[in-house]
């Protein structure tokens, strides 16, 4: 039997507001437990929520960037359930009328084709606190710092047909929310995570199979592995004559398996109803237009511009627009180097990204700033150094030895263009390589490369390669 996989994602993006969604408490990550929870976050008797306007603005920004409908009147609802890290006994979320409605997102698949994934809705809600089961010897600790942190839950249509597509969609949203500066995208800290609804059906069947929801996936690798595991599990169950039960499952990355958390029968009845403490959120057209005016250039538009304005190839442009930060780094290099877009693209995509990757560093931590890289590129262009020497210079800048000019001077890496000096080296090399010279003259053109290599080596790489080529040919 041929099986088709059906996946829908619910992505939770923590909004990068200064304070919580319904209180004035700060939301910085990693603070001492319960130091960022005020009376409202603790759900003390008598406290009331007040909506953070910035969270609304950010949600609208997301909606506009994805071409989704903006809910002109949205309602906060209470989702009722008991849990120790849910202080009020209900989570304030949105149910019937979310702030962001239908839209769609284009994703690029590995084969280069484009797929459209529907966005069902995106709604605002507050996060819960954390239950800490370690360190309390049989007891549970509650940290309410995270309680009330604003989340945008982005719900997709069940449009994805493989784990890879799900990851591509997730990556796209991940880049987008960072472009929009509405989420820091930090998956390790849980600022960006998702639940995956996974089902399988015989190929050609129209009706969906029964789905399982895998909770709280917070890395692209886990998402892919968890979905693939779940797909195989479901196929095994069905092919073994069993049936899939609708349930919530947890992925265990250590054991690489998903485990049942609770079944539909045990599912909570959340008793949603409109929160009487909060008024409906009414969004005027003028507000939408004001937010639209703050939208940055989005990845697709930026990629196209990079291809057109800088003459970059599609894959290069794609890499460079993968994050807003990298794109901005690249453009700074281009500008500061006097418009050397191709060189800038080469150096950023190969050397810089390679070094970041090798050392496990983020762009923000790069020891080589855009301005430093630009100066180095200028030195290539003005023939102070060759491209090969530049690699040495880059490595030295990476190691913190200063800017390009400092390093070139300190290490004596300045390219030699003095014809007399170069000719002298050529003469020495030719004198020491009679066989190779003879071979060249006998028609072995490859020998030219060998000879150039020897000359460059003898000049310790400082001779200008173009001049070397020219002079060598003359002499031969």
């Amino acid at each position: 039997m041929q099986w088709e996989v059906v996946i829908g994602l619910e992505i939770h993006a923590q909004l990068a507001t200064q304070s919580k969604i319904f209180s004035g408490a700060a939301i910085a990550y990693g603070a001492e437990p319960n130091t960022q929870a005020c009376a409202v976050d603790l759900g003390l008797p008598g406290v009331l929520p007040v909506l953070n306007a910035e969270a609304v603005r950010m949600a609208v920004k997301f909606g506009l960037a994805t071409g989704c409908e903006i809910g002109q009147r949205s309602i906060f609802a209470r989702k009722n359930y008991f849990y120790p890290d849910l202080p009020k006994g209900y989570q304030i979320s949105q149910h019937d009328l979310p702030i962001v409605g239908r839209g769609a997102l284009e994703i690029e698949l590995e084969d280069g084709s484009i797929k459209i994934v529907g966005i069902t809705r995106a709604h605002l809600e507050e996060d819960a606190g954390k239950s800490l089961h370690e360190d309390f010897a049989g007891l549970t600790g509650i940290d309410l710092n995270r309680a009330g942190t604003p989340l945008l839950e982005i719900v997709s249509e069940p449009d994805m047909r493989s784990a890879k597509e799900a990851v591509a969609y997730m990556r796209k949203i991940h880049a987008l929310v960072q472009y929009l500066e509405i989420c820091d995208g930090n998956m390790q800290e849980g600022s960006f995570r998702c639940d995956a609804n996974v089902s399988v059906r015989p190929k050609g069947q129209h009706a969906f199979g029964t789905r399982a929801e895998i909770k709280n996936l917070n890395s692209f690798r886990y998402i892919e592995r968890a979905i693939n595991f779940e797909v195989e599990r479901q196929i095994d169950v069905i092919e073994g004559g069993g049936t899939i039960v609708q349930e919530t499952r947890l992925y265990d990355p250590d054991k690489h398996e998903t485990r049942s958390m609770r079944s539909k029968e045990e599912a909570f009845d959340y008793r949603y109803f409109p929160d009487p403490d909060l008024l409906p959120v009414v969004i005027e057209d003028s507000f939408i237009e004001a937010v639209r005016a703050t939208l940055p250039e989005l990845p697709a538009a930026k990629k196209q511009r990079f291809e057109q304005d800088y003459g970059l190839k599609g894959d290069e442009a794609a890499i460079l627009t993968g994050s807003r930060e990298l794109a901005s780094y690249f453009e700074t290099v281009v500008q500061a180097s006097g418009g050397e877009a191709k060189l800038a693209a080469n150096w950023v995509t190969s050397e810089l990204l390679g070094a970041l990757n090798r050392d496990g560093k983020e762009l923000g931590d790069s020891p080589v700033s855009a301005e430093m890289l630009a100066l180095m590129i200028k030195r290539i262009v003005d023939n102070t150094i060759s491209g090969k020497i530049a690699k040495q210079v880059f490595a030295a800048m990476w190691a913190g030895e200063g800017d390009a000019d400092t390093i070139i001077a300190a290490k004596g890496l300045k390219q030699v263009t003095d014809t007399g000096f170069i000719e002298k080296i050529i003469d020495e090399v030719l004198a020491n390589s009679p066989t190779q010279v003879a071979d060249y003259k006998a028609g072995k053109e490859k020998m030219l490369g060998y000879l150039v290599g020897q000359i460059m080596k003898a000049s310790q790489g400082k001779a200008n390669p173009a001049q070397v080529n020219q002079l060598l040919k003359q002499k031969l």
């Binding site: 009376a39 003390l44 008797p45 008598g46 209470r78 008991f82 120790p84 009020k88 009487p276 008024l279």
Partner: protein, 484 residues
């Protein structure tokens, strides 16, 4: 001193006839001597009261006093008071010392008011007789065998017995007006959104509204002036300026159009109460008012709608009382579920549990549309009735409660009969309208209240209409025997 109104006391303080410390001491002595008979206070804050009184005297001396500076009042124990136990009449919060002041409390503090203590109330404001309190029932100062009404029974009783110059109450379905009626005092439930709900322990958020309880309409006007106004911490509070509620008290009533809803004078209304209310209406005619019979055709829906909406909201509002962070926690919980079940099972009384169960039921999957959603639609019909009525009349009048105060224990085993004591008051909450109850006479030794319902934000008119009646009657200034 205790026979004086807030307005008179303020004058006495300003003119140096007595100090706030003297006044406060006098009230504390009365509480000491008399509260045992009525059980109106849950907590008396004598020390803090004297500190506040000294500060008030300093303000009076410095010439920076306002109309409430140095006036001793009591707060319903539903308002959070920084550093003082805030029990909400429940075992659940018997150990809860609030770490902050409700907005109402802090506004009174800023006005220089002296808090004498916290008043007894039905548990979580759920009740109409003050018999559901963990701290025992309050007795009606007019007849110690009678209930004071509820849920602000303690706040009504302290004013009736002159154990405070005035008090604060909250009204979700009549909890200010009904006890005001049963205790012979003046109480005002403002328009929903006029007074901040921040720090007021929520019962039913879309209905709860705080208001003043006092001897007279003039005192209510003074109190409301301090309580009302926008609070950025309450999203449902309205951004509009607060008028001077005393300014129009003396406006003449000639030409005032009073609507009498025929539904408020039908079956279930005690004949004695009806006679008292009719006499009061006759008095208004003498003052120049025109009386028009009107209809509020959806009145019969008010009680059933209320007992869907209010329990639904309370079932969610009271979820935070789970034994985890504050309040009552059961002994030696075996596990999380045991902690929840026993903390809530042991911490809440039967009426609260009944309403949590009703509310949980009506919000459950499969029942939501039939109950909650339908109730919301019916609620709109009730609002529409008032909207049409106020196109014809300026104020609606009728009885506050169908009977005078009943005996302790008389209705406590029959919740539905008990719920019907709020039959005339609930609609104003559902519509969000302001309502008042003023003393209009007696049946035997038990007071009768006249209810006034106004249009949105028409508190000034209600106070004016009430005040004018109080200029030609003395029901509001009578004191019960034993508390003179």
């Amino acid at each position: 001193m205790h026979t004086k109104t807030v307005a008179q006391l303020a004058q006495g303080l300003q003119q140096g006839e007595f100090s706030s410390v003297e006044l406060t001491t006098a009230y504390l002595e009365r509480i000491e001597k008399l509260d045992g008979q009525v059980n109106a206070y849950v907590t008396v804050t004598a020390e803090q009261a004297l500190v506040a009184a000294r500060a008030a005297d300093a303000r009076i001396k410095a010439g920076t006093a306002g109309p409430l500076t140095g006036i001793p009042i009591a707060h319903k124990d539903i308002f959070c008071t920084d550093g003082v136990r805030t029990s909400c009449g429940s075992k659940m919060l018997d150990n809860f010392v609030a770490p902050y002041d409700a907005t109402v409390v802090s506004r009174f503090k800023e006005a220089g008011v002296v808090m004498l203590g916290k008043t007894n109330m039905d548990e979580f404001a759920m009740g109409s007789s003050n018999e559901t309190s963990y701290y025992g029932p309050v007795r009606n100062p007019w007849d110690l065998n009678a209930v004071p009404g509820g849920s602000s029974g303690g706040s009504a009783a302290v004013v009736a017995a002159r154990l405070a110059a005035a008090s604060t109450g909250t009204d979700t379905g009549g909890s200010i007006r009904q006890p005001a009626a049963l205790c012979g005092i003046t109480g005002l439930k403002p328009t929903y959104g006029l007074v901040s709900r921040y720090g007021m322990i929520a019962f039913a958020s879309s209905l709860d509204q705080a208001g003043p309880m006092a001897q007279s309409a003039e005192d209510c006007a003074i109190m409301l002036g301090a309580m009302a106004g926008f609070d950025k911490r309450d999203s449902t509070s309205l951004e509009r300026s607060v008028p001077d509620y005393r300014a129009g008290l003396n406006n003449p009533l000639a030409g005032l159009k009073i609507g009498l809803p025929k539904e408020y004078f039908g079956e279930g209304l005690d004949a004695g109460v009806a006679r008292v209310v009719e006499a009061a209406i006759a008095e208004y005619k003498k003052l120049g008012a025109e009386v028009i019979e009107i209809s509020l055709p959806n009145t019969h829906l008010a009680v059933p709608v209320y007992y869907v909406v209010a329990p639904a909201e309370c079932s969610s509002n009271l979820s935070r009382f789970d034994g985890v962070r504050f309040g009552y926690r059961c002994e030696d919980p075996k596990d999380l579920m045991d902690l929840y079940k026993r903390s809530r099972g042991e911490g809440f009384g039967p009426e609260v549990k009944r309403r949590i169960m009703i509310g949980t039921y009506v919000l459950s999957a499969g029942y939501y549309d039939a109950y909650y959603l339908k109730a919301q639609k019916a609620r709109q019909l009730i609002s529409n009735d008032f909207k049409s009525a106020f196109e014809q009349v300026d104020v609606i009048m009728g009885p506050t409660a169908p009977t005078v105060a009943f005996n302790l224990g008389e209705k406590s085993s029959d919740p539905v009969t008990m719920y019907l004591s709020d039959i005339y008051t609930i609609a104003a909450n559902l519509a969000g309208l302001p309502g008042m109850s003023i003393p209009a006479g007696f049946v035997g030794n038990r007071p009768v209240g006249l209810q006034l319902i106004g249009n949105y934000f028409d508190e000034a008119r209600l106070l004016n209409v009430a005040h004018q009646y109080q200029q030609v009657s003395d029901w509001h200034s009578r004191l019960p025997d034993g508390f003179k």
